[in-house]
């Protein structure tokens, strides 16, 4: 290298230093970092609950914490992870940072609404944290009635208000993305030239806007039942507790796709960048995102196969659930095919992407067990389902989130982290994850129910393996936290295009200026259109 690379003289991080310049910013990149701080905080809170859960389950007897405490731990683990990490995680951090950069825009369509959505998120999280510190919540993250409405004595209402409020932040983010993608694309950037990251965020945004109001209404009904004894879900007042499950899953199943679709978008970007190659079957991958978003609204009943549903309703939900597997499979096959004759770099983000494909494949295939009604009866509400959704949510979404964070970190910070540590921790996370969750498939088929504080002793060995894996996984998550923070100040400065990737975000400086591009870009090429020679690449 002839001369050291310097940070650009002017970029979004040195455009004002005070607290006010952050808390009142309208820059999507700074708001993304505000979200990053928020979701990282809630991830480690949720993770701390998981550590306590796994410690308790290392022995069959309920001996570490009381049963009520255990019930609160798994509830708050779920609430924190789902509503305050997984749902906002990729869209509000990476999406916020990258959607305008990838489409050549100056910012999102509504910068003030974007900032408002962060404040709404924090206010909602504050309510939920209030319920955590004032005695906790013990309903399970699913809030099933009538337990949550008439039986639980824990702080249901503040937690519910928190989730209700946070929902609006999700709706506003989705709305902002939809309008931005429609209206602010650079000249020449047609729909079928968009990066697949944009397609998947667009699909997820549709779900956020259409699905989230349903959970908001449902939560209001739970609160009304609790405070005013409306009896909507209380059978002794003529209500129906199963109605709650329909309403809850009508949102919460699509919410799974809010969590996984943006992750799939990240993976498409990572595979393309580290194979230096166009994503195989671009249009099929793009439309599979929309297919998942649409079908995802039609499968909620598969959470209720044992809840007294009619046989025919169960069969319809079963067949639709199998159909949703097809677009997911299409993505996996296309990513694999993309690697064929690629120029594959074994960088940290690629390791995460490869890990994602493997774990998501297992997570998706074990979903077929649950869609098969006759088999779901045995495995639902057991550790099999716990393992399945952690393969999707942790093996899928968190792997993609970390992969994306590592990939765009040079863009976000202008610096690179310690790559050796990064690879070691990626390997630890992969190994720790599998050791934690694979034994749970076996436990589930053996019949160990989920949400059990104490369990029969014959299940102990598998639980000990799982707890051992969780400790490796926990350390694996702490290491990136440390070296990423360290790199912010001491990391080696890298150029505009550290990975030698194409994509509009790599054409501007690292970190980008507040207005993103010195000259508004004009696009005359397709996504992932790798030239014969990679230009602007400073390794």
């Amino acid at each position: 290298m002839a001369h050291p690379v310097l940070l650009p003289p002017r970029h979004y991080l040195n455009d004002g230093y005070g607290v006010k310049s952050w808390l009142l910013t309208r820059d999507h990149k700074r708001i993304a970092l505000l979200y990053l701080a928020g979701v990282t905080f809630f991830f480690f809170i949720g993770g701390a609950f998981a550590v306590l859960i796994r410690l308790e389950l290392a022995t069959p007897a309920g001996d570490l914490v009381s049963d009520d405490t255990y019930n609160k731990l798994f509830t708050m683990h779920g609430v924190m992870m789902v509503f305050f990490f997984l749902i906002p995680g990729i869209p509000a951090v990476l999406g916020n940072f990258l959607v305008p950069l990838m489409i050549g825009a100056r910012d999102l369509a509504f910068p003030k609404v974007n900032l408002a959505s962060w404040y709404i998120f924090i206010i909602g999280a504050t309510f939920t944290m209030y319920s955590v510190v004032t005695g906790g919540l013990d309903t399970g993250w699913t809030f099933y009635t009538p337990f949550s409405t008439v039986s639980s004595t824990s702080a249901v209402v503040p937690a519910a208000i928190g989730i209700f409020i946070t929902g609006f932040s999700s709706i506003l983010t989705g709305l902002n993305f939809i309008v931005t993608i429609h209206k602010l694309r650079a000249p020449g950037l047609t729909w079928f030239r968009l990066p697949l990251f944009i397609w998947s965020h667009y699909a997820a945004s549709l779900i956020m806007v259409l699905g989230t109001p349903v959970i908001a209404i449902t939560i209001v009904m739970v609160a009304a039942d609790r405070i005013f004894s409306f009896g909507i879900f209380d059978p002794s007042r003529g209500g129906d507790p199963v109605l709650f499950q329909h309403l809850f899953w009508f949102y919460s199943h699509p919410a799974v796709y809010i969590m996984i679709l943006p992750a799939m978008g990240v993976i498409s970007e990572l595979i393309a960048a580290f194979c230096r190659k166009q994503v195989f079957g671009y249009t099929f991958v793009a439309f599979s995102s929309l297919g998942i978003a649409v079908l995802g609204f039609l499968v909620w009943g598969h959470h209720m196969f044992v809840a007294g549903q009619s046989v025919y309703a169960a069969l319809i939900f079963s067949v639709l659930s199998f159909l949703v597997a097809i677009p997911s499979a299409v993505k996996v096959f296309n990513w694999t095919a993309t690697m064929y004759k690629g120029s594959i770099a074994w960088e940290t983000p690629m390791l995460y992407a490869i890990g994602f494909i493997g774990l998501f494949t297992i997570g998706g295939l074990t979903g077929l067990f649950l869609a098969a009604v006759g088999l779901d009866v045995h495995v639902t509400d057991t550790y099999f389902i716990v393992a399945h959704f952690h393969y999707i949510m942790v093996g899928g979404t968190i792997m993609a989130y970390l992969g994306g964070l590592h990939y765009w970190w040079p863009k976000i910070s202008g610096r690179i982290y310690n790559e050796m540590l990064a690879k070691v921790s990626a390997a630890m996370i992969f190994f720790g994850f599998n050791l934690t969750f694979f034994p749970q498939f076996i436990l589930g088929y053996l019949g160990m129910p989920r949400r059990y504080h104490a369990y029969p002793p014959e299940f102990q060995v598998l639980n000990v393996l799982s707890s051992a894996g969780a400790s490796i996984l926990g350390v694996g998550y702490l290491i990136p936290m440390a070296y990423l923070a360290w790199s912010l100040r001491y990391g080696r400065i890298v150029g505009a295009n550290h990975w030698g990737a194409v994509g509009l975000e790599w054409t501007t400086t690292s970190p980008p200026p507040t207005e993103n591009f010195a000259e508004p870009p004009v696009v005359t090429w397709d996504a992932y259109d790798y030239p014969t020679q990679v230009e602007g690449h400073v390794a």
Binding site: N71, D138, G140, Y144, P146, F147, S151, P235, S236, V242, R276, K277, Q278, F280, Y282, T283, F284, V306, A307, G308, V311, S318, V319, F322, A325, I326, T336, A337, M339, Y340, K341, G342, S343, I344, A345, I357, G358, T361, I362, L365, L368, F369, A371, A372, V373, G374, L375, V377, D381, T382, G447, R450, Y452, H453, P456, E458, V461, L462, Y530, A539
Partner: protein, 313 residues
């Protein structure tokens, strides 16, 4: 370390081998596709690793034939799973006609079982081997779930309605019974055992102990205690419908809808009689919501079931 650690559950009902067969089919598919994808990824990652810093991948846009193949082939595979899973579920949903009925009431945090002859038990369910058993279940408070892993059966137990499941045990022994729907503080303590006995031993167990008469006779007593018989009389059909021979018949409601008189309808007609009134009657019956226990309701239902009629068609 592994001694005493099972890796596969007991399979002790007629349904268990059917569920397990489907499970093995899916395990096979999962292993095949996971290894295929993982193998390809690892092979490509090594075979096509970047050899020069500026190297780029080959220009390949896609292939329609491949896309169609990996859409249609998985579609056929998942449809085969769907059909198989549906056929198992149909069998699970249709209890044989000769099934032995046992009533189940769940409450935080215990299971109460009532056999037809009046024998009651808590957190233990005795059943004979080789005979289908149907559980008719409800809850006194929140949603619970009866789960017997060895039988591969599970069903939610829901307040305000009856759900059911059935199984036919194939091997005597004691098997776990779990509550599988989170129900509060002592959810993980809401466990019990299914005791599968040889038929003779079961009969001996059933007739031993202090059963205070059959469920139907307990229901008859309750029927009189609650003064139901002042209106529901066997001789005249005046203010209230006659109940003899009513069970399993189809009756016409006010407004013309028709309903089969089953456990759920009888329950509703007691706790909330105004909801679906039989044609030709006034909605004059008081609601018994909260006045009769769930077990009392089950006794009344058994009583109504026991009222056979010779005269009525």
């Amino acid at each position: 370390m592994w001694s005493g650690t099972p890796l596969f559950p007991d399979a002790v009902s007629t349904m268990a081998p059917r569920v397990d067969a489907l499970y093995f089919y899916l395990v096979g598919l999962t292993a095949f596709f996971s290894l295929l994808i993982a193998g390809l990824i690892i092979y490509y990652a090594i075979r096509f690793r970047r050899r020069a810093p500026d190297a780029i991948g080959a220009r390949i846009e896609g292939g329609t034939i491949l896309e169609i193949t990996w859409t249609v082939v998985p579609l056929f595979i998942v449809m085969s799973i769907f059909v198989w899973g549906a056929s198992v579920f149909f069998a699970m949903s249709r209890p044989p006609d000769d099934a032995l009925n046992v009533y189940v009431v769940g409450k935080q945090w215990m299971w109460k079982f009532q056999h037809l002859n009046g024998q009651r038990e808590i957190n233990e369910l005795h059943v004979p081997v080789g005979r289908p058993v149907k559980l008719v279940m409800t809850s006194e408070d929140v949603i619970h779930d009866v789960y017997v892993p060895g039988f591969r059966v599970k069903a939610d137990v829901i307040p305000g309605r009856y759900t059911s499941l059935w199984f036919e045990p194939t091997k005597p022994g004691r098997y776990h019974l779990f509550c599988a729907e989170y129900c509060g503080t002592r959810h993980s303590g809401m466990v019990g055992e299914v005791v599968v006995m040889e038929p003779d031993a079961f009969q001996a167990w059933l007739s031993a102990g202090g059963a205070e008469g059959s469920l139907a006779s307990a229901g008859a007593k309750l029927f009189a205690d609650l003064a139901c018989n002042t209106c529901h009389r066997p001789d005249v059909q005046g203010r209230a419908p006659r109940l003899d021979g009513l069970f399993a018949r189809t009756v016409t409601l006010e407004g013309g809808a028709r309903v089969v008189v089953d456990e759920a309808y009888i329950r509703e007609a007691i706790v909330n009689p105004g909801a679906r009134v039989a044609q030709g009657f006034q909605a004059v019956m008081p609601a018994y919501q909260g006045l009769v226990t769930e077990e009392g309701l089950l006794q009344l239902i058994e009583y109504v079931k026991s009222l056979r009629s010779e005269e009525r068609p």
